[in-house]
């Protein structure tokens, strides 16, 4: 696995729009972004209504994922090219789902929607429909998903990477600063976690930093190459961005995303919490 297998440039994406066997997929929290204009031919996934179970706190199961991709017209043989807003947070989150359900041919557009817009590249408001397919997913690959008990067991044992902003890590904020500061959880972080904000892995235009810069970033933060790693944030989307960097770009073998993240951990009874920088 190398960078070119998992990441494509905006130039490449623009040249390959409409190619047979490629499906461009925009993933946003804010579906109005897609509706204002999207890459020509791209379909939309809503991270909340399409990717989350409507009742339980969990994401879509294998059957729901199969139904979703079938309805969107994505087949097992397609290469899925993901992009989105928020510096690709939610596109990286969807990327992780595709890998979890065994879809190997999936890539991210470097810089996502932001770089595309800052470059003033063309957007389309034409409605996109694709004929339905019969998509078959594999059983979920839990080697890339961490659950709460293994996170508690990982304290002082595995690498724990908290990718939230320094103020969230310190316990000063309980949510990213574009959201109201509310919620029942206790502020702080998991003991022994290092704070490497996701944003340090990205340039201002949303593109990923070079492999050399990324390797130095996590080495300087004290990540032990010989240990397994669990990344977390508040709800698991920013940590998908870091999971992508560590597992897909840098090729670390054992990296899990803890999608329960702080909203789960910070609400657990009796677990240890650390505060401060």
């Amino acid at each position: 696995m190398s960078r070119s297998d998992v990441l494509v440039s905006a130039d490449w994406a623009q040249e390959h729009l409409g190619d047979a066997g490629l499906v461009f997929v925009e993933v946003d929290e804010d579906t109005s972004a897609y509706d204002k204009g999207h890459l020509e031919g791209a379909v939309k996934l809503d991270w909340k209504t399409d990717l989350q179970d409507p009742l339980r706190r969990d994401f879509v199961d294998k059957e729901q994922f199969e139904q979703l991709l079938s309805a969107k017209g994505i087949s097992n043989d397609d290469t899925v090219v993901l992009y989105g807003g928020n510096n690709n947070w939610f596109a990286a989150y969807a990327y992780w789902y595709f890998k979890l359900y065994g879809h190997d041919a999936v890539k991210l557009v470097d810089g996502g929607r932001k770089k595309w817009e800052l470059d003033s590249r063309p957007l389309s408001d034409a409605e996109v429909t694709r004929p339905a397919t019969q998509y078959t997913a594999k059983e979920p690959d839990t080697s890339i998903r961490a659950f709460r008990d293994e996170v508690v067991a990982a304290i002082d044992t595995k690498n724990l990477v908290d990718v939230r902003s320094p103020d969230e890590f310190a316990g000063k904020l309980v949510a990213p600063a574009h959201l109201p500061q509310e919620g029942a959880q206790r502020p702080g972080h998991i003991p022994s976690a290092v704070n490497v904000p996701w944003s340090k892995a990205a340039n201002e235009d949303g593109t990923f930093k070079s492999d050399e810069e990324l390797a130095a970033l996590y080495a300087d933060a004290g990540l032990d190459d010989g240990k397994a790693t669990i990344a977390y944030c508040r709800i698991g989307e920013r940590s998908s961005h870091t999971w992508f960097v560590l597992h897909e770009l840098l090729g670390h073998a054992d990296v899990k995303n803890y999608d329960g993240s702080w909203t789960e951990y910070g609400s657990l009874v009796g677990v240890p919490i650390a505060k401060g920088a």
């Binding site: 807003g85 510096n87 947070w89 932001k114 000063k172 949510a175 600063a177 574009h178 959201l179 709800i235």
Partner: protein, 97 residues
């Protein structure tokens, strides 16, 4: 929810006795800039959050009291401003030269 809420609009439902709201708009050439990326950086210049401006050029953050920096990115250019926020409403303008 971690999604970017709609920017601008009324402050109804926001408790200004507890929230530290930083809001304002981005301007260029005498007109508001829609679709600009505005990021909030903390006192150490570390990224804290980013939003996209509304059709009226507005942005809004929920921060904490202290020193902050706002930086806007748009195809027409960039702007930056430092501000000191307190609990309640903190309003500012970013002008792209």
């Amino acid at each position: 929810m971690c999604g970017a809420p709609k920017q601008g609009g009324a402050l109804a439902g926001i408790d200004l006795s507890t929230q530290t709201v930083i809001q304002g708009s981005v301007w260029h050439d005498g007109a508001p800039v829609a679709g600009a990326y505005v990021r909030l950086l903390d006192a150490t210049d570390e990224f804290t959050a980013e939003v996209v401006t509304s059709p009226e050029g507005e942005f809004r953050f929920f921060a904490a009291p202290g020193e902050w920096k706002l930086r806007s990115l748009a195809p027409v250019g960039r702007a930056e401003r430092v501000l000191s926020a307190e609990v309640g409403l903190n309003e500012t303008t970013l002008a792209i030269a």
